[in-house]
Symmetry: C2
Subunit: 461 residues, 2 copies
């Protein structure tokens, strides 16, 4: 009996063509869809189209509105159902003039950009002495009298990591620095860009002054400029900087999520929500952050649609305003969580380099499903991680409320070379790795949209 079983198991391989690595004829349909997706061209087409025909699309601006129009037209043309916009209002902050220079002892220009919600200098700029710190903790520890009236500089030593974990720890100067510097009476703050490259392209990013704290001008120097300032400070002479940052708040404007669906055959089986965010920072064309996620999840959902009606409805959401605090995610949650029919969520928002890891936030009854997904992803070189999936910035509210989630973690080794810089452009995307992403999401959707078992809540943590 054992021999017979072995023979039966071996049969597909024996009958398969000369190349024994070909899938056997009776392969899982999900595996077939996965492998077909390795030839996908739709994701590149969407990515190229959005970044070329819209370009930068800052949240709440007319550029983001053009991106919504573009996405609605494209998703409709692709045959998605219920294509619509979920609008919401938001305050908008926009960049102005941006200049920095060392005025003494070694006069020279530096390259700077404003951080989100930065305060403004007068049009002619400000000039003040620079005081440097190696960390937020050093700034915290400094007496207010040493900081008052000065331009604070905070350095750090962020290095690339595959899982992107450096962003949390080394992002502190951007997120906390401006508030602490303002509380201590600083005239302004410049931080070393929260990035891992050595190019003269500064990394912007959101920060919010704490309640009641006066907004001060807050900028990011490029990494080469931060290292230059560090060298200049190391000479021990007083260093003076002239800084001009003239961003402004333009009031309340509309943003919105673009939603599209592949209707399922079984309304009781629940809805799967995937997506990326449509907005980008203003300096690049938002190719890796996050036209890539828009393209990957749309292309994967489209492949499932083309293969025949799935059991579960797949909803693709292209979120608005992720970069500036995330108005789109909360709006979608507020509108749809009461319906109580979303069974699984997942967002792609970490570029387009290959997926290297899958993580789940599944209930105990779905262990077999997570095992099937893991097996489907293994041929793509994807390992199973031990952490619980969090579903990203826009969909994170769902697993926090108990909904099942899946994360496909992309390789982040070079992500923070380009993230939030003018350098986030189409040429940074590798089409081969982009296709692997589409294949991974196609496999996840194929397995979950057609899973015969219920997808149960994972429970709150």
């Amino acid at each position: 009996m054992k021999k017979l079983l072995l023979a039966a198991a071996a049969l597909p391989l024996l009958l398969s063509p000369a190349n024994a690595l070909q899938p056997p004829p009776q392969a899982d349909p999900a595996a077939t869809l996965r492998d077909q997706a390795l030839s996908d061209n739709l994701a590149w087409d969407i990515l190229e189209g959005l970044t070329t025909e819209v370009g930068p699309r800052q949240a709440g601006t007319e550029a983001e509105a053009r991106a919504r129009d573009w996405a609605v037209a494209r998703l409709t043309a692709l045959g998605f159902s219920n294509v619509r916009v979920e609008p919401f209002d938001m305050p908008v902050w926009v960049r102005g003039e941006e200049r920095a220079e060392i005025s003494a002892p070694f006069p020279q220009p530096l390259v700077v950009t404003a951080l989100g919600n930065s305060g403004a200098t007068p049009a002619r700029g400000i000039e003040a002495e620079v005081i440097g710190f190696n960390s937020v903790a050093e700034l915290e520890a400094a007496p207010d009298s040493a900081v008052r009236g000065k331009i604070v500089f905070i350095n750090h030593a962020m290095a690339p990591t595959q899982d992107g974990s450096g962003y949390g720890q080394f992002g502190a100067p951007r997120r906390q620095g401006p508030t602490i510097a303002s509380r201590k009476g600083a005239a302004a703050i410049v931080v070393r860009s929260i990035g891992t490259d050595f190019h003269r392209n500064p990394h912007t990013g959101n920060q919010s002054f704490a309640e009641g704290v006066r907004p001060i001008p807050a900028g990011a120097l490029t990494v080469p400029d931060a290292e230059q300032l560090e060298r200049i400070l190391s000479r021990g002479q007083p260093v003076r900087m002239r800084l001009t940052l003239t961003p402004r708040n333009t009031g309340t404007h509309q943003s919105g999520n673009v939603v599209a669906e592949v209707p399922g055959s079984d309304p009781d089986a629940g809805v799967i929500v995937i997506g990326g965010h449509l907005d980008s920072w203003d300096m690049g064309t938002g190719a890796i952050d996050n036209a890539a996620g828009v393209a990957i999840t749309t292309a994967a959902a489209h492949r499932i649609m083309q293969a025949g009606q799935p059991r579960r409805t797949i909803r693709v959401v292209l979120f608005g305003a992720e970069e500036v605090g995330g108005g789109g995610g909360p709006t979608h949650f507020r509108l749809h969580h009461p319906e109580n029919n979303v069974v699984l969520v997942g967002e792609s928002d970490f570029g387009a380099d290959r997926v290297w890891r899958v993580e789940f936030n599944f209930g105990p009854g779905n262990a077999a499903l997570s095992d099937r997904i893991t097996a489907l992803l293994a041929p793509l070189g994807i390992v199973r991680g031990a952490d619980r999936a969090g579903a990203g910035a826009d969909l994170g509210a769902w697993p926090r409320a108990g909904t099942a989630a899946v994360d496909l973690n992309q390789d982040g080794t070079r992500y923070f070379d380009y993230h939030h810089t003018p350098d986030d452009t189409l040429d940074k995307v590798d089409p081969v790795q982009l296709r692997q992403n589409v294949a991974a999401w196609t496999a996840v959707l194929a397995a979950t949209a057609n899973a015969p078992e219920a997808i149960e809540p994972a429970g709150t943590r």
Copy 2:
């Protein structure tokens, strides 16, 4: 007898320490100096100092004057003799505001910088339709009526080469494009940067409108921006660009060469002239172009000086105004060629990546000397090339007039990633490869400054 000779030849190896790769005790002093230079710190120190304490140093500006002061002080402190400035006057062109955007059909900003001697737009910019070409030849072939009043865009496909030869061929859009476009009545021209990187840092560079040709605004788009414009043009709709470039000519100002010497013991043996250029473009700190050449040649000459007085005088010249047409080289030639005592020249002006090739312009009587130099350089991984040495932009007049020359060609594979961009900063220099450069120049100087034979003219070609 043969056996005895072999034994004698083997003796140094037998007596040497356990590591048989150690040089034998009676090694050529030039080889010893070469190997000691692999631990050099002076070149890095000069490079770091000049790029940090002066920073950008555009020819004819007060920044270049500060660089001369810095260099005179540094060379004097290092113990060089006859440290002096050779001043000359030059016209100065400086950058103004620089902005470009596609206004239709897909509004978005592009990153641009002015090319040297660019004409200016009005302060509010100009707006015109874009007409794209893939080469200067295509532009030449176009009827004037198709070009008149438009903004010309010229693309190209420059790729990295070790010997940098792509710069000549693919630099045509920058060097010839503006004049041709102006003659055809174009409103302005933008070229794809003459560079091999994919960053949003444009490559500037010199160009000169031909006699009698009206200067038009002439800029370089970054490579990602050029590719974006190419994609936008490929849609087939009329493309309109708004372009603002407001450079200006500031009149005649002073530049100068900084000269320093290691006096030789034999005035009749002639002078060896080496060096780099002190000026840089304005956007970066001129680390690879050309603080590196300044640092490498100064450090090599300093090593010879420290080892004892050489037979021949070594003159280090840090040229002014190389980037903008080369006022320093002709000035030095005009001042010193009549003396008729320069026997050998060589410039380092191609970054700081490793020297991979040596080439000579030697007279027939110096074949043995070139063989000795080749043998000295081989342990550094340097091959002998077949071309005649040209001695670079600043010293090229000398071999053209018959003087012997040596070229140490650096690996140019990544040179045009940074050249003439804001990205030409200290972090781009690899200290290990910088030291290999110092070792190579030290070897060349040791061999030539102390060569017992005459260094004869190579003759004119």
